[in-house]
């Protein structure tokens, strides 16, 4: 168990809130019709990205997924440029060419969200191989879902990372569902972390809605990776609050289950309770933090709205370097 400074914990709390309010705003905007394409929200899963990325340095890498906003924010992404991207603006991370599923910020190690489930895992092998070859002591974290753990790319990547002893931590966000498919119907093990044994690597399953547990476990595994001792697999059990995408009719699960999760297992409420209890931060300050977070999201939205769309003549640029 690592000792965490109060400051660090407050930072993590801020990050979780930022993800929460960013996603709530994105949801509003989708429902208003301001955002096109499929948008997959990270609501309810904030502790995972936050706990894991809190262990990373700026130049460490992550590969992310179609449900990537949370990873991006936790790794230090700029929510104004994110919002601008999601609204398809020139000032967005990808000039409006990528949208929600392709946000990337190479400068701070975000090697991209990915529209292909399981598509990021092999890329993380390459990034980790690069860190090892260039002897930079950087580490890679590859996020993916429970559904993705059934892709062949998962298997090839973990095996190769293990054989080559690469500095990469595979973080499975088990939010119980892949679109409509419950994990029990698609995945032949109860704990995805069991699959670590297929690669002779460390595997852990933790309560993914407990940010401190996520942090502590991730820290341990990331340290191992950084020391050159190879990859590992961390499963964070969490729950997807929303439909697969905003607008999903969700014929496959009942509202009560979702409501129960929201009311009893909100990672932010849990962390807030802990911090207030432990007197890490007074309740009054929490209100202030929330207000400030919403202000940031307001600003991001304003920035995005006020930005322009890329001139269409530039649509065929950016293919080749």
């Amino acid at each position: 168990m690592v000792e965490l400074s109060n400051e660090k914990m407050v930072d993590m709390f801020k990050t979780m809130l930022k993800i929460r309010h960013f996603e709530l705003r994105v949801k509003e905007l989708v429902l208003k019709g301001s955002i096109r394409g499929g948008v997959h929200l990270y609501l309810g899963e904030e502790a995972v990205a936050t706990g894991v990325c809190a262990c990373l340095k700026k130049d460490d890498y992550i590969t992310s997924t179609h449900r990537g906003h949370g990873h991006c924010i936790a790794k230090g992404g700029d929510i104004s440029r994110m919002m601008a991207e999601i609204l398809g603006k020139e000032t967005g991370y990808c000039k409006g060419k990528g949208g929600s599923m392709h946000i990337a910020d190479i400068d701070i190690g975000i090697l991209g969200a990915n529209g292909i489930v399981g598509g990021g895992l092999p890329i993380s092998v390459g990034a980790a191989f690069s860190c090892k070859k260039r002897k930079t002591h950087q580490v890679v974290v590859s996020f993916f879902g429970d559904g993705a753990s059934n892709q062949g790319s998962f298997h090839e990547s973990l095996n190769m990372a293990s054989v080559w002893k690469l500095p990469v931590v595979y973080v499975c966000e088990n939010n119980q569902y892949a679109v409509s498919t419950h994990v029990s119907k698609s995945t032949s093990v109860k704990d995805v972390s069991i699959r670590a044994s297929s690669y002779g690597i460390e595997g852990r399953s933790v309560d993914g809605n407990d940010v401190l547990t996520v942090y502590n476990t991730a820290k341990e595994l990331i340290d191992i990776a950084r020391q050159g001792k190879g990859p590992s697999l961390l499963e964070c059990k969490t729950y997807r609050w929303e439909g697969h995408y905003v607008g999903d009719p969700m014929a496959y699960r009942c509202k009560e289950d979702v409501d129960k999760q929201k009311s009893e297992n909100d990672p932010i409420v849990r962390f807030e309770g802990y911090m207030v209890n432990q007197k890490i931060v007074p309740a009054s300050e929490i209100e202030q933090i929330k207000k400030e977070t919403i202000d940031l999201v307001d600003k991001a939205e304003k920035f995005a709205h006020e930005s322009k769309v890329l001139p269409v003549e530039k649509v065929t640029e950016d293919i080749f370097a």
Partner: protein
């Protein structure tokens, strides 16, 4: 007769074939209660779930392989790839196994399998969820490639695909599912492969269009008529086997050819059609054939940018006028 959407027509085809032959099965990601990403199998779960309709794990290789293995051993599988883009993951099973097994085995196996999959852009799904890759499959001996443009065609062709003893790649444009309605006969019908359809008769220019582009071509044709150009629109419906005759006969009449598809122009199916026509009806061509297709870039996310990349009525009109 009853008016149906494209998705409903497909659903009817699946249901009828399920009932006709219990060895017809359909599987894929979230095709069960969820009804598939575009609702094609919605409502079928109660009657067929677990018997002929199956949800799979998120495993495109295993999905395609299951189709191959099931087809070789007595079933008539329909595998759904949630987006055509994801078939990239399963190309070994499609190209090296499904397409080649019968040949490699000296004619010993039958592979009555269909891979149904949605293609195309226009929904802001960006580069990894918007491709049109039909040209790849046309290039692979051993595959049949179907790309319907109307509910009527979709139903008749899907039934034919299911009854065909060979691997069929059945590509459905996402924007067709809910937007197009058409009267469909209540009696059973099948549409044979290799028979194109003249979607509009004309005499001045032959416009070969596929899938969603047929509808854009029809609109463009209305506009062009105002300029005194009477366009004939041919929908090949199946890209392999291709109805060469219907295209060549039309070109013999019009002397002019434009091919329109959503995929990028370069090495697209338009190249094949142009090359085929110039090879077989060169002397009938009064002007160089033109191709209209996607710009040479991945499909971008934002609306205006995406529109710029995907061909529209105006692009078709301009191409025809430029002849």
């Amino acid at each position: 007769m009853a008016e149906k959407t494209f998705a409903e027509a497909l659903r009817e085809a699946i249901k009828e074939e399920f009932l006709r032959d219990e060895n017809v099965v359909l599987f894929g990601e979230d095709v069960g209660i969820h009804g598939g990403a575009f609702g094609v199998t919605r409502g079928l779960w109660d009657e067929f779930g677990g018997k002929q309709l199956f949800d799979t794990p998120l495993s495109e290789v295993a999905i395609a392989g299951t189709a191959v293995g099931a087809a070789m051993t007595g079933l008539r599988p329909i595998a759904e790839m949630m987006y055509l883009d994801f078939i990239t993951i399963a190309m070994d099973q499609v190209v090296n196994q499904a397409a080649k097994i019968r040949y490699m085995f000296g004619g010993k196996a039958k592979l009555p399998l269909v891979i149904r999959t949605p293609c195309g852009g226009g929904r802001g799904n960006a580069a990894q969820h918007s491709q049109s890759l039909e040209a790849w499959f046309v290039h692979v001996p051993g595959l049949k490639v179907v790309m319907p443009s109307t509910p009527y065609d979709a139903k008749g062709l899907l039934k034919t695909a299911i009854r065909d003893d060979n691997p069929v790649i059945f590509i459905e444009h996402k924007l067709l599912y809910g937007t197009i309605r058409q009267d469909i006969p209540s009696e059973e019908y099948l549409i044979p492969f290799g028979k194109g359809d003249i979607k509009r008769e004309g005499k001045d220019v032959t416009l070969v269009a596929t899938s969603l582009m047929v509808h854009k071509a029809l609109k463009a044709a209305d506009e062009l008529l105002k300029h005194g150009i009477n366009v004939e629109i041919i929908d090949p419906r199946t890209l392999f086997p291709l109805d060469k005759d219907i295209i060549i006969n039309s070109v013999k009449k019009t002397g002019r050819l434009v091919v329109v598809h959503e995929a990028p122009v370069r090495a697209g199916i338009g190249a094949e059609i142009v090359a085929m026509v110039t090879g077989e009806a060169f002397e009938y061509l009064d002007s160089p054939p033109r191709r209209v297709g996607g710009l040479h870039c991945p499909i971008p996310y934002e609306l205006e940018l995406e529109k710029e990349v995907i061909p529209d009525e105006e692009d078709i009109i301009n191409a025809v006028k430029s002849l």
